[in-house]
Symmetry: D3
Subunit: 291 residues, 6 copies
């Protein structure tokens, strides 16, 4: 019985957080190692399902680089990168779209179905959800179908989240002539959170958060300001795959998103841990330290 009462206590601890997030939108970027493990992945779906059922409006944006590479390999298409951006020719774009929207996206949606939630798998082509245009590399290199977002059309998302649905979004943009664009999933998450003035934006990554010393896990930063981020970028502490995440946070904050987080998606139930514990986990990005 004591065990049971303790469990009840855990539920009650969650109550103030549930109250605070009631009817609020939370955008979650899901990718990396957390996607590769069936077990971790199913826990993420549970977390998001729980959010939906306690009255929060979650929206999931996912990546899928590893699976894309696997399929390209099977098809003998050699991946080609330029400064970290995948050069996306027509054949590659076709594979990127198929794998993201046809395999990963719909499989996530099916897992939600098993968890008892109603998810809808979308990409930027659905009702022109994410319109995009060609993005040129800084040095003028033609990156093919790499795109940058020109608009997020929030009507469809509003319709779905007010009803019983969880939107699951693959980071494919659509151009004026219906052509496909390959867009960084972190960027998509940031822009969607911004367009919806979400309450919270969370990046589930493979590390615990931002470190002041990238090689030292103990140097995790709990709270970081936008100004500090710019300093760290300049000094090279923040670089590579962390860049679109911090950009996404900044973009979101500047558009009214209250809380943005970078956290480790490879521990069980990372979303619940961040939301339903006082301290939270990972790194929170803020406008200013006092706030």
């Amino acid at each position: 019985m004591d065990k049971l009462i303790e469990k009840a206590g855990v539920l009650i601890e969650a109550l103030p957080y549930i109250q605070r997030l009631a009817n609020k939108t939370v955008v979650i970027k899901y990718g990396g190692a957390a996607m590769l493990s069936e077990e971790l992945s199913s826990k993420i779906m549970q977390d998001v399902t729980l959010l939906k059922f306690v009255g929060v409006n979650p929206i999931l944006v996912h990546g899928g680089g590893n699976e894309i590479n696997g399929m390209l390999e099977k098809l003998d298409i050699k991946p080609d990168f330029h400064n970290g951006l995948r050069i996306t020719d027509d054949d590659t774009m076709d594979v990127v779209q198929m794998v993201l929207t046809g395999r990963i996206n719909k499989d996530i949606v099916a897992k939600f179905g098993v968890a008892g939630a109603k998810a809808i798998g979308l990409c930027g082509k659905d009702a022109n959800l994410i319109t995009a245009e060609k993005k040129m590399a800084d040095d003028g290199t033609d990156l093919g179908h790499v795109g940058q977002i020109t608009s997020i059309n929030t009507n469809l998302l509003d319709l779905l989240v007010k009803d019983e649905y969880i939107p699951v979004i693959a980071p494919i943009g659509v151009g004026k002539d219906g052509e496909s664009y390959n867009i960084n999933a972190d960027t998509v998450a940031g822009e969607i959170a911004a367009a919806l003035s979400a309450q919270k934006l969370m990046f589930l990554t493979d590390i615990d958060g931002i470190r002041s010393d990238p090689d030292d896990p103990e140097s995790l930063i709990s709270i970081i300001t936008i100004d500090e981020i710019y300093d760290y970028i300049e000094s090279g502490v923040i670089s590579g795959g962390m860049l679109p995440k911090v950009d996404g946070c900044i973009k979101a904050i500047e558009n009214g998103v209250k809380r943005t987080h970078i956290l480790n998606g490879t521990i069980p139930h990372p979303i619940l841990l961040e939301i339903f514990t006082d301290k939270g986990i990972g790194t929170m990005v803020r406008k200013t330290i006092e706030e």
Copy 2:
């Protein structure tokens, strides 16, 4: 961190129960010793608040015998009972109404306010919520303002529970000329659950449930059928204050209520324990054993 993950696991365990009760009505009869302890009482309010915020529609019906007696004593009015029913003369009725609707009811409502929920304190007089008529004792004794329910008007409850409110109901009925009736709170809870075809009806009492041997705490019955209840009543195993509770369960079941429970309100978080654990606690009353 393991501790945290364990907590997340507790939340996830609750998920299927939350899903099952989403948008469903749960009527809770709250009374006895659980009302007398500030600490227990505040835990009950938290439980009910949590239910509301995870999408369930709780309705609370309360008693208040002890406080009524205290006030009668202060006013030098001697309580008078006939076969367990309080003979309710005009002065007594006035005190019963004042204490139930003016002190206990509004204090419960205030505690919900502190817990962050919006509760509305009602009695049968509000919008003719509970209409009643004079009830005569079986032997013809005049019981004064003791009443029996003639109708429950569900419109007001529907309006409130569909919005953000928790109705808290004092067991006072209203007659055709506006006169007050003193009604057993267990009966009120059963009739309201029946009128609303609630998903669940819970009686929070001072003991763990129905016992096959009233003197043996170990003889707690987990599941009991209506037929078995009738046998136990006949044999005297079920008697006294347990009678209106089992009557309430039967009335409710016969009107489509899915689950009815009698459980101990003096342990912490009894509502969460019953709802969010597989086995539940206390005694569940069912139509038939197989169901």
Copy 3:
């Protein structure tokens, strides 16, 4: 037949007033001698019911000083006043709340039921309708639970008046920790009218209105401006129990209430007389004389 036609004429005379008040909110403070007579009281309920059924949204705020004193006396608690404010210790507060919300409020509600209207009895604790904080006497005397309003939460009132309900409000406020506050009913009426930008605020008192010579019934003032009120307060013409009424009027006017009135509640049907006659009765308080 002529008698009948004359009656029809009376109804037609009321038409322009009904048209003008359609869907408008009217806040009525009800107290004093009018509450003590069953006959007068039942006429007030009829008046308010009629308003509701011809498309006006009435809200009733009531007092109850006399009945509180009676109960305090029965309980051997000696009333204690300081500059006209009841020093409200814990025991007194308990009685004030019980009598106001448990007896007077619910009895009014029951009378509406008899009149065929659906009234809901509320106090500041219901859904945090009236939040309050401790009020100190000007000279620093501790007045106990005497409170001043910090906010009126209009959502609940909006929900009820748009539907078929008449809110009946007891002047009890609620503090941050759920504690009770005793608030002047005139003040509550003024603040509620202000918060709702009501069309009209009416104080039913024991005298005909404001008199330029308090001792001369013939000196009744039909229309008075805010500036004139300040002059009369300074000169002592307006004092005592009339002060919170005129304060309520001024507060309401400054928040957009169109018409405020002080009138005699001890004549039959005072509300209808004020509303459905050209000249009205009592004193109307206005911003300026021209208006």
Copy 4:
């Protein structure tokens, strides 16, 4: 002041009737002498406006025989009747439609505007409100554009009465090819009341009601049953212009209309007198005497 209080009493007397008719539909046939007097007519408009503003949904159907005859005369078209039905050739139909829908109907509507109500002037052609087909005389005489109703389309009326509008209907039907039909206004009123399952149907005529002796004003019948009507028709007591009125009553009653009345429209405020007095005026037609 006593005079005023008496007036308030009249309003209160009307309350139970207002409560009973709240949100109910009342169809009123308006015609005959009551239409010819500006003064009487303006009182009728006031009555109907009052109904609308106290929450009833009135619908007005009007006739106009006198004005039609006047216009026919001016145009040198000789009226021609067959068994009381106007033989309606093309030219006559044109005049009937113009006078009914273009003069009388729109002038009634304008009077409502002056009374502060929003009325909409309709005929059967508007949104196919009243579809009709050619009606043959019993003896096979061609009656021209005399029509019988084939359907009443209630959608438009529902839309208007739920909003703030009073429909005013001219008794013109429309055929399959858009051709006009001249229909008895009493019949239209009865069919509309039937189609809407109105609460009440009232015929404003030039006499006080049905008399058991047509020549003796003292022989007014207060309540008459359908069976009695059939007897009176057989015996010739009910005949002529009274026939379509009693037919309308019977048709309406058989389709669920609760109350049907034939009353004198030439006394001031006949509608209010019937509705807001206990005994009512005129003759009430009922299914059975006990009811």
Copy 5:
């Protein structure tokens, strides 16, 4: 089959225009010769019905000078004009109202019924749709019931067009005392388009549009600016019956109407031709040439 495919192509050509006008309001002034031919008239009704069914909200305003003159003649009332305005004495006003609202208006409505659309025939008296006051001639001549618009009440139109109805409006205004006013139909169309901020306003006239040389059909102007119109008025190129049309266009444009057109209503399907062809027909009036 080729013939069929060509037809499908015509439908597809209309698609972008349908998309552009979806849920937009189009006000059409219908009058002159187009009203006199049954065949042309029925084509206009088809055009408007098609607009309604493809998601556009058409509103029709009609004139009727010819028929008014015919009826005046039959009644031996001599038409009298002053500077192109009909001097409208009481008898004339009566005829104007009867013919416009009772014959032309309701006959148009019936034709819509045959075409399968639901039209409602209205004039300014219905729900005070068009309020007006007496208009004096510039030289002080008393024009009788000639009126100028003081307000357009859009609530009724909004209710009807959001539902399945097509409003058909006769140009009669209503004064403060319910009196009738005779208003130029072109002016009414312009004011209604302005009040509703319609997307488009179309005048169906007897000529192809504005000509730079009134006598030369070849001199049709496709697009004209407001400034050019003023020049043409000054030089007398635009005069007579064209004046209220260009005034209506200017008034509408200044109130946010996007497109205004003057076109020939005597060719078959003029509305479809203007809307569903790239070049359109007739003269388009614009604020500026570049736009």
Copy 6:
């Protein structure tokens, strides 16, 4: 101008069909050769877009056998069939899902975007739209992921079609554990039309319809009854890929679908031709010949 007027006439010819289908649901199965030609495909999207904009609710179900085979070939997976059903092992299922939901489905959706319509690409996994279970071959052969439908969940479709969206559905079902099922697209179209009680179901195929002599294009049957279909199946006239189409028609008809059609999708604008011409094209399947 004559050319223009002729075009207007074509639009008017479409009007009665538009009126008949207003707010009705039309399910279109799109597959085969029509999908392989960019030009034909874009005409189909225009047809469906036009339907949506003239007030019809189209739903598109698509196949994709050819593209699946192409991708299987690239991945060196050998297609394997058993009695016309693709034996779908895990790798094949993965490719089927990817190609159908990730390439074909989203590319169709993008084409709608270009056409100015808002389409949403769905498969059975989205919100459990199509639940399925394993289907065994009649001879017991294990067909792998070949599935048969157990339920269609219409809530999501209702939400989307009532709003501005066109659902585009890939024929993938979802099992209890989230596993994928490969379902015949014709069967999916029939079941969705049945579940929604659609007004119309259309199969766009590569031939003109059902032929009484499969080898003789001249033997096209315009109207066929269910009984005749059973005869033709028995005699082998109807066989192969035509079987699921006629099954879909029968299933749909038995569930209340009014009209079902099999027609040639390789001619331009086949949907418009069927809907907007009197005779229609292709074969119409009916319950009985008289109907």
